[in-house]
């Protein structure tokens, strides 16, 4: 039982990071109906932006200003990267068949992975210890480390910020309008191009943050590290109902927990990477549009 609670806690921490990545998938899907396959690699890039910033800062990286600089570098770097990718690779194919954009996204993903292997080197590298791990609390039998607290607080803070942005600001309203009907939104005078850019910037910044957080927690990084978390985060977004922001948060947390629980069990631990998909398959077969998704009713 204690073991179980500890696992659930770890699952929530991991799930929070998945949720951050899933948000980027779901937001981009919302406005463009595009599965941004390169999103997992943007997350990887976030970890590397942080890595080089931390190296540059040296010992100062472990201080609070240093930590904030590292985080800011990753988020800004990814935001810029996201906008550039959208402008150069996705915008030209926006009117093409949807699968074309998907292949372009796959191309961008391959480019980041292979380019990363050349620029950063193909090997796994240790991430600098910018937040030294230390136990901060024991809740009954659950040990809580400062890193876990950091991840939870950051994820929660970023998600609240996002909710505020989407629901309380003019740009957020425009974003919702575009995701509801792009053509109508543009007829209402909304500059859809800038809305799409902002969406990519925010989604990518969140992925960058996720990259830093997971790199602090699991301190090894490599150019292919985005593949599996990217795929799982995408599964999380679909599980929650792609296009739905609360859905992505829920899906991320749910998958994180399911995965940690399975990995912790003796019998099924080798099925860890399958569990995300098994859950996804089961949920979608019961509710074909995801948990928070609303199916578009086709008019006959």
């Amino acid at each position: 039982m204690e073991e179980l609670l500890q696992q659930i806690f770890i699952g929530i921490v991991r799930g929070g990071v998945y949720a951050l990545i899933a948000l980027g998938y779901t937001m981009v899907y919302g406005v463009l109906r595009l599965i941004n396959f390169a999103h997992g690699d943007v997350y990887m890039m976030g970890a590397f932006f942080a890595y080089y910033t931390a190296l540059k800062l040296g010992v100062k990286a472990a201080t609070l200003p240093g930590q904030l600089t590292v985080m800011a570098a990753a988020m800004v770097g990814c935001a810029v990267l996201g906008v550039v990718i959208e402008r150069l690779a996705y915008k030209p194919v926006r009117k093409a068949p949807r699968l074309t954009a998907l292949i372009t996204a796959i191309g961008v993903s391959l480019l980041l992975e292979n380019g990363g292997q050349i620029v950063f080197g193909p090997n796994t590298q240790p991430f600098p210890e910018i937040v030294p791990v230390r136990q901060v609390a024991r809740l009954g039998s659950i040990t809580v480390t400062n890193q876990q607290v950091l991840i939870l607080v950051s994820c929660l803070g970023l998600m609240l910020l996002l909710q505020f942005f989407v629901h309380r600001t003019k740009m957020g309203k425009a974003m919702r309008a575009v995701s509801y009907d792009r053509d109508a939104a543009s007829l209402m005078g909304i500059n859809t191009d800038s809305v799409i850019s902002v969406t990519f910037a925010i989604g990518s910044a969140l992925a960058g943050a996720a990259g830093v957080l997971l790199a602090i927690y699991d301190p090894t990084i490599d150019p292919l590290m985005g593949l599996l978390p990217g795929l799982k985060a995408f599964a999380a977004a679909v599980l929650g109902g792609i296009g739905s922001i609360p859905g992505a948060m829920f899906g991320g947390l749910f998958l994180g927990m399911a995965e940690t629980l399975v990995a912790g069990s003796k019998l099924f631990s080798s099925y860890r990477d399958a569990i995300a998909f098994a859950v996804l398959v089961i949920v979608l077969l019961v509710k074909p549009t995801g948990i928070f998704g609303t199916g578009a009713v086709e008019k006959v």
Partner: protein
């Protein structure tokens, strides 16, 4: 009035026989290490296997319009089933067998792999094909991954170590024959009213149902057919490389196959063939580009070989920007279309 489509039946049966005979004659020549470079042979073999994969995936993604991303999973089922079959049942070493015996084993392995993968396709397709678009994509991708991880966990077939010591049954002849079969099936399907019904499912499911098309049935049938062919590709793959590993079939491979289909032009069999060949060749061409450039005395400050995957991905993006509908753009290459093109050009020349 339509042209008379009924060619004499002898002619219809002559075609496939001619293709098989050609493959049979070419087989010893191409497989001869002295006359044909083994490296080239490997590229040819992998192209052939990829043709089977992309043409079969095109049946589901291009014709039926169902976005499936789990092709590698079915390939894995075919590869493992047939490899396990030949390893456990076939005891005579290959060199002691007559050509006929080898052929019999190969046909058996192919049929078995097709049945097994087709059955898995049915199991996966029945529930998932009511999902649409991206939901179907991620579920099929998920099933592909589940299959791979299941295989990792079955110790009898090597688990995470992979399966080695498979008999090298696959020859150029068999790759060619299965590729030809796949192309023929795909074309015959499209030429029939059943194929038109499949296209109708892609275009508008509600309208198709109103005309009596069992849309679910057609989707599942297309999916099963496509999975079975992917399984046969897996069989060829396993008995060619003689070693298979679960990770040879992870989702990146499924994505590679869909890239072939879309690069060639979704919905076009010719396109799928072209796409398979291009995507197989491109990295190899880039690998050898340095030698060619050096021969041509074009100096480069770096080795292209090192950047080949970067160039590959850039080319992929560029191609999509330049030709968003793929190389063939959904059109087919046939004698008819060639003749039409020729006629148009000669008319243009006259004018």
């Amino acid at each position: 009035m339509p042209r008379n489509t009924r060619k004499s039946s002898a002619w219809r049966w002559l075609w496939p026989l001619a293709v098989l005979a050609l493959l049979w004659v070419a087989n010893p020549v191409i497989s001869d290490r002295d006359r044909f470079s083994p490296y080239l042979l490997q590229i040819v073999m992998l192209s052939g296997i990829n043709i089977v994969l992309s043409v079969s995936l095109n049946v589901v993604n291009g014709f039926a319009g169902q976005f499936s991303l789990g092709h590698a999973g079915f390939m894995a089922v075919g590869a493992y089933t047939s490899a396990y079959f030949t390893m456990s049942v076939m005891h005579t070493p290959l060199r002691l067998m007559s050509a006929g015996e080898q052929a019999a084993w190969m046909v058996g392995a192919l049929i078995l792999s097709g049945l097994a993968a087709g059955f898995c396709g049915w199991l996966v397709g029945m529930p998932s094909l009511r999902l649409r678009g991206d939901y179907l994509a991620i579920v099929t991708l998920g099933f592909g991954e589940i299959i791979r991880i299941l295989i990792r966990n079955i110790d009898q077939i090597g688990g995470p170590r992979g399966l080695s010591g498979i008999s090298p049954l696959t020859s150029f002849f068999w790759v060619g024959a299965v590729a030809a079969l796949t192309i023929a099936l795909s074309r015959n399907l499209l030429d029939s009213t059943h194929g038109k019904a499949l296209l109708a499912v892609r275009e508008d499911e509600v309208a198709a149902e109103s005309l009596g098309v069992d849309t679910t049935g057609y989707k599942v049938t297309a999916f099963v057919l496509s999975s079975a062919l992917a399984g046969m590709a897996g069989c060829l793959f396993a008995h060619y490389l003689v070693y298979i590993h679960p990770d040879s079939f992870w989702f990146v491979r499924s994505i590679e196959i869909i890239v072939m289909v879309i690069v060639g032009g979704l919905g076009s069999t010719t396109g799928a063939v072209l796409g398979a060949v291009i995507i197989t060749l491109l990295p190899e061409v880039l690998r050898n580009a340095d030698v060619l450039l050096a021969d041509a005395h074009i100096p480069l400050p770096f080795l292209l070989k090192d950047y080949r995957m970067v160039i590959y991905s850039l080319l992929l993006i560029l191609l999509m920007l330049v030709r968003p509908k793929g190389i063939m753009g959904g059109a087919e290459l046939s004698w008819k279309s060639l003749r039409r093109l020729f006629r148009r050009q000669s008319e243009g020349a006259r004018a």
